[in-house]
């Protein structure tokens, strides 16, 4: 992946960090047909997203093609402080992957 496919915003409110992230991905279910050829479009979707902060895995999400194109994910966790890094990485069903990190504000 040459282009950055992940955008992250992490904000600290009190003790809780809220992370919002946007990924760029076609998220094909594998059930959709190409209107021109009538053939099934092969499945191509993110199936695993992990979030890490301070060396700990905060969240692991397993997805299907039922997540919308260019997925949005937001979640919250306790125990981080401002300036800590949050790393988000994804893997898709065709072997692609990407990761990015951002500092908590």
């Amino acid at each position: 992946m040459a282009k950055k496919s992940i955008k992250i915003r992490a904000k600290l409110k009190g003790d809780t960090t809220q992370v919002k992230t946007l990924m760029t991905h076609p998220m094909e279910t594998g059930l959709r047909k190409d209107k021109k050829t009538g053939k099934l479009i092969p499945a191509h979707f993110i199936n695993e997203v992990t979030a890490e902060s301070g060396g700990k895995t905060v969240m692991t999400a397993y997805w299907s093609g039922g997540i919308s194109k260019n997925p949005y994910l937001s979640f919250s966790f306790d125990g981080a402080s401002a300036g800590d890094e949050v790393t988000i990485s994804w893997k898709d069903n065709q072997g692609g992957s990407d990761s990015a990190s951002a500092k908590i504000k």
Binding site: T16, T29, L31, R32, K33, D34, K35, K36, T37, K39, I41, P42, A43, H44, N47, E48, A51, K56, T57, V58, M59, T60, A61, Y62, W63, S64, G65, G66, I67, S68, K69, P71, Y72, L73, S74, F75, S76, F77, D78, G79, A80, K91, N93, Q94, G95
Partner: protein, 158 residues
């Protein structure tokens, strides 16, 4: 005229990319099986019970008021339905999100790690008007909540 030519080129390009995609997809069937962490059986299950058995280890759940689902009453575009799930249950370990009317109802599972709160938002596809179901695993038990979403244009067909 020039735009027309460009369009032709573009179409050709996308068809070519499509065939490559199929080849890659077929070649990767084996590694997919190795990806054991991803609960394939759960996501490919056609019924909610099967999906839950594979994803959460149990199909029975009790309705709970502690789980809140935030989703629109009417979704104009089924391809993008914003859904938020939050649970005020102690020791919530994981959340499963299902769209009852989808061909493959299980949409996503979230496993909470260190310090994570049972509060996630994402956007899902819905094929038709149905219930969105959230299952939260807390203290070894499954708790569920559902909310009906009316979909005017389905997001799974094509």
């Amino acid at each position: 005229m020039t735009t027309n030519i460009k369009r032709r080129v573009f179409l050709k390009g996308s068809v070519a990319a499509g065939t490559v995609g199929i080849a890659v997809g077929a070649g990767l069937l084996a590694p997919q099986a190795v990806l054991a962490a991803w609960p394939k059986a759960a996501f490919e299950a056609k019924s909610i019970d099967d999906a839950l058995k594979n994803a959460m280890g149990d199909a029975s759940s009790s309705a709970s008021d502690a789980i809140k689902i935030k989703a629109p009453d009417i979704a104009e575009n089924g391809a993008v339905v914003p859904v938020s799930v939050s649970a005020s249950l102690d020791g919530a370990e994981s959340i499963a999100l299902l769209a009852e009317g989808n061909a493959q109802p299980l949409v996503a599972t979230f496993a909470m790690g260190a310090g994570a709160l049972a509060d996630v938002s994402t956007r899902i596809k819905m094929g038709k008007t149905s219930d969105v179901i959230a299952i939260v695993k807390a203290g070894g038990k499954l708790h569920s909540a559902r909310k009906s979403v009316k979909v005017t244009i389905g997001g799974c067909g094509g």
